[in-house]
Assembly symmetry: C2
Homo-oligomer: 305 residues x 2
């Protein structure tokens, strides 16, 4: 049984960095990703360039990538009408939209309480699908919010129902704060999948508390087949000591490889992606497998246990 690992480094990863990546650098990353077998990636966001300069070149990047890599499934994040218009012009067929189920987080991020943001996104989904686009709808803080605490599963289920009704082809449950544990993942994923067999359910997990891979494993055992990952574990807020990013693509690919589950990703080739990011960002990224595959941690089992 196969799994899709959606690569988030160009959007979720880079928007957390202060260094701006040029179009040429991003195209090189796409080339390396494609060579490594990545089949699905989020190219950027159609948001105000002033608020997110890191993704300001998303429009032209989308156009170039679509022409050079017609077999790659590319998406981008859209948060409002303006973004949707840019997405339509870019020629992308898949979009990602996202709101938070936590009121505090929603107000902070979008200036609107959660219920209002949900309605607005439902309308945007309906508009996008009427234009023939496929939409993945994301629910941030689906497993808890640091300010609002635990999130009632019923809230997430109600939001998922609203988004499915609006025409989303995929519901993405995002553990924005890294607060999820394997039992919550199992419970939530099982319930959403059962309530909405007509949509795909995907997981977006952060490794803030070290549980990223545990949660991916639990999600897989609960039937989830699409997971958001980022090369090297990019994402989160890099000026905070300690990795708070996404699950590293190479670590997730390795987990599934060991389980005999196909992801399409060639680990050895994927390490070139991580090397490239580390070279440009001038720092080591937290993912484990890049170091392990370079032989840095193998062959040293001459310890007592």
């Amino acid at each position: 049984m196969q799994v899709v690992l959606e690569e988030e480094s160009l959007r979720d990863g880079l928007q957390a960095e202060s260094r701006l990546f040029s179009l040429t650098e991003k195209m090189e990353i796409v080339r390396l990703l494609a060579e490594a077998g990545v089949r699905r990636l989020q190219l950027g966001s159609f948001v105000n360039p002033r608020s997110a300069p890191q993704v300001a070149n998303t429009d032209v990047l989308a156009a170039l990538v679509r022409r050079q890599y017609p077999d790659l499934l590319c998406t981008a994040l859209v948060l409002n009408e303006k973004g949707l218009e840019r997405a339509v012009r870019s020629g992308l067929n898949h979009l990602s939209m996202s709101i938070s189920v936590s009121d505090t987080h929603s107000l902070h991020n979008s200036g609107r309480p959660a219920a209002e943001a949900l309605e607005a996104m439902a309308e945007l989904i309906a508009r996008a699908t009427s234009e023939g686009l496929q939409v993945r709808a994301g629910l941030q803080c689906a497993f808890g919010c640091v300010t609002d605490g635990a999130i009632d599963e019923a809230i997430v289920l109600a939001a998922a129902a609203r988004l499915a009704a609006a025409g989303a082809s995929e519901i993405n449950l995002a553990d924005t704060t890294g607060m999820a544990g394997p039992h919550q993942i199992t419970s939530m994923a099982t319930k959403v999948r059962k309530a909405h067999p007509e949509v795909e359910v995907s997981l977006h997990l952060h490794d803030t508390r070290g549980l990223g891979l545990v949660n991916i494993y639990a999600g897989y055992e609960a039937g989830v087949r699409i997971f958001d990952v980022a090369a090297g574990g990019l994402g989160g807020c890099p000026f905070i000591p300690g990795a708070t990013g996404n699950v590293a693509t190479e670590d997730a690919a390795h987990l599934f490889q060991g389980m005999g589950v196909a992801t399409g990703i060639d680990l050895t080739l994927f390490c070139r992606v991580v090397d490239y990011y580390e070279a440009l960002l001038e720092r080591r990224l937290p993912g484990r497998m890049n170091r392990a595959l370079q032989g840095a941690t193998t062959g040293k089992d001459a310890c007592a246990s």
Copy 2:
């Protein structure tokens, strides 16, 4: 249902460090561990002080700890007759012994092929139990060896049977090379538990490929209730870039806490142990929860997803 996290930092952790820890420093660590709720710990090894100077003070440490902390379950590693004699003199009631199921690794570590080392350990176990001691018998490379490759489950099962017959009260399956994945853990732990309901089965996992916590979770779901961990993720070989240590105690404790499983460990107090180690070793350790609990990674969920 509760779990025992056996603290390995004083033995597995420190033997991988070049800095020598004084008796006073080790006693301070024991004090902090006890305050944080740790109930079981490996104090050191009874081996030749010249080959492992880091644990040369194990005899006197054991004597001091037994007197000051009578409720702590303390163990130490014993590899031969001489070590057993020192252990008996130290007054410890629990010992840990270990061999490798991989021939190459066994020859490298003990100068003997695996089968020979197994027999020698079986005899040592019989001697120790005749002296009234309880013995945990460990099988290194139980999930694979970097030189010999995958290890046949039948080999591990045969070794476990030999050790149980020799009188071991606990079989410890060690993923020395970090090559285990959750399915192998589930399979091996289930089989050993089923074959030997009269002994405890414990897991010693390394986080070399980032799967430490995934494997702990899989082990727990397979019925394992004792896990070896080390503060901050100490252990392994520190001069190799990238963490190759044990699963961090605080990360495992947090995983179980989220699952409603009692470990006895107070996470906030345990972070003082990690802080102390980091101060003396003058470097940051790879465990995630220490940083997360210091608020370094919380409250920063103002990102798009």
